[in-house]
Amino acid sequence: MSKQSRLIVIGAVLAVVAVAFAYVAGWLSAQRLSPARMIDAFEAAAGPHPGFRRNHAKGLCATGFFDSNGAGTRLSKAAVFAPGRIAVIGRFALAGSQPFQADAAASVRSLALRFALSDGEEWRTGMNAIPVFPVNTPQAFYEQLLASRPDPATGKPDPGRMAEFLHRHPESARALQLIGSQSNSSGFGNSRFNGLDAFRFVAANGVVTLVRWAMVPNQPFSADDTADTRARSRNYLFEALIADVRHQPLQWHLMVTIAQSGDPTNDATVAWPLDREQLDVGTLTIDHTQGEDTGACRDLNFDPLVLPSGIEPSDDPLLSARSAAYARSVTLRAAEAKPPSAVQTPKIEPGERP
C-alpha cells in the first residue's frame, strides 16, 4: 500500500469515529426529541421565565415527615418502607410553565417529595392531582406542548391545533375526558396526589411487583365551590394551604396499588381497575410551609429516577423523559438569577403555629 493510501485509511478511521460521535450526540438527526428541544417547547408554550422551573413553575416549599408502618416491606426492600420516621422536603405546585399564573379550581395541582433515608439514599417523587396523565409518550407530550402554544394573533392557543393533536392521539382525548369528569377538591389539603407512572418494587427475596402509588388525604374531600369565583385572590389555593398548615399539620396516606397481569405499566393515560389491591404503607405529615425563595425545596430537582435500592422504574416511557427534561431545566435555572416567587409566606398571626 502506498503512503498516500495509508494516509487515506487513517483519515477514514478518524472520520468514521467523528461521524459516529456526531450521530450519537444527535447532531445529525434534526428530528430527535432531546431534553433541550422539550424544554424549548415549554418556553414556547408559556414564554421564557429565567430562574424558574420550566414546568410546575408556581409553587411553595413544605417540610414534614413520613411515618412508615412497615407494611411496604412485603413488596420492597427499600429502606423507606422499614418502620420508622423519615424526614421529608416537599413542594406543592401547579402544573404549567407560568410562574405567576392565577390559581384556579381546574389548575393541575402537584406534590413533589424527597425522602432522605438514613443510609444516605433518597427517594424523590412527583405526583399530580389528576387520575391519569394526558399523554403516554414523550413525543405526544412534546406535540401537546407545541399544540398549546399561543397564537401570536390572539394570544391564546389555536383550537384547531389542539383538535388536530387530539385527533392524532385518541388516548389523550380519552384521558382528558376522564380528567375533566373528576370534580375538583376545594384545595391542596384535600387533594389526592397520584404518581401516575408505574414502578417496580423489588422485595428482599427478589420478587418484583409492579405498582403505582398515591398520597391520599386524611383531610376530607369537599368540592370546589364553583358558585363564587369572583373574590378569589390570584394565590387563593396556596394561601389556603399556608393557613391550613399553620392551623394544624396536614396528613396523607401513601397508598400503593398493585398491578395484576394485563394492567398496562407503560401507559400513564390508562387507569388501573379500581378493585386492585391497595396497601397503606405509611403516613405523610406536612407541618411547615416556606416560600420558595428561601425554602429548602428551591434547589431540589424532584427527579423521579432518584430511587433507593428496592424501587426501580417500570417500562413507562415517561419516566426517562421526565428525568432527562427535569435535569435540563435545573441545569438552566441553576445559572439564572431567580426573581421572587409568586407565593410568599405571610408573617405569622397570633394563635398560629410557627
Binding site: 495509508r6 469515529v17 450519537v24 426529541l33 444516605g120 430537582n301 422504574p313 423523559a321
Partner: protein, 164 residues
C-alpha cells in the same frame, strides 16, 4: 482503558441527547464507569511515575516530542478531571451519587446551584476537549503505526510483540 474512555464519551453525549428509555440505562452506566476510570487512571499514573515508558524514537523532531509529551499530560489530566468534575457536579446539585443499588459516594461539595451550573458546563466542555485529544492521539498513533512504522504503536498496543 481507551475503550472505557471512548465508551464514556459516547454514553455521555448520547444520554443528554435523548428522552427515550435509553436515558436511564446510559446514566446508570455512566456513573460507575466514570469512577472505575478514575480508580484505574490513578493506578496507571502511579505506575507510569514509577516505571517511565519507552523512549520516543530518534527520528522525531523537537516539536513532535513536545506534542507527544503534551498530549499524554493532557490525556492524564482530562481522565482524572472528568470523573472528579462529574462527582463534584452531582454533589453541588444535591443528588445522591448512586453507583449501583444502595452503593453511593459521599458528596464532595456542598449543595450549591451556582457551583453546579459551573461544573456542569465544565464537564461538557472538557468532554469535547477529551474527545478532540483522543482523536489527535488516535491519529498520531495510526501515523506511527502505518506511516513511520517506528515501534511506537506496538509499545502502546495491548498486544505485545514478544520478538522485540
Amino acid at each position: 482503558m481507551a475503550a472505557m474512555v471512548l465508551s464514556m464519551l459516547f454514553i455521555g453525549v448520547g444520554m443528554v441527547s435523548t428522552v427515550s428509555g435509553r436515558y436511564h440505562g446510559l446514566i446508570a452506566i455512566h456513573r460507575p464507569l466514570g469512577i472505575a476510570i478514575l480508580v484505574l487512571v490513578v493506578i496507571r499514573l502511579i505506575n507510569r511515575l514509577l516505571h517511565p515508558g519507552p523512549p520516543l524514537p530518534a527520528h522525531l523532531n523537537a516539536l513532535e516530542r513536545f506534542a507527544a509529551k503534551a498530549s499524554q499530560v493532557l490525556l492524564y489530566a482530562l481522565m482524572i478531571l472528568m470523573p472528579l468534575i462529574g462527582w463534584a457536579m452531582l454533589s453541588a446539585a444535591g443528588y445522591p451519587i448512586v453507583l449501583a443499588g444502595a452503593v453511593h459516594l459521599p458528596a464532595i461539595l456542598p449543595h450549591d446551584p451556582a457551583l453546579y451550573a459551573l461544573l456542569r458546563r465544565a464537564h461538557t466542555l472538557l468532554a469535547y476537549t477529551l474527545f478532540a485529544t483522543f482523536m489527535a492521539h488516535l491519529g498520531a498513533a495510526l501515523v506511527h503505526a502505518l506511516i513511520y512504522r517506528d515501534g511506537v504503536f506496538t509499545s502502546m498496543a495491548p498486544w505485545r510483540s514478544r520478538r522485540t
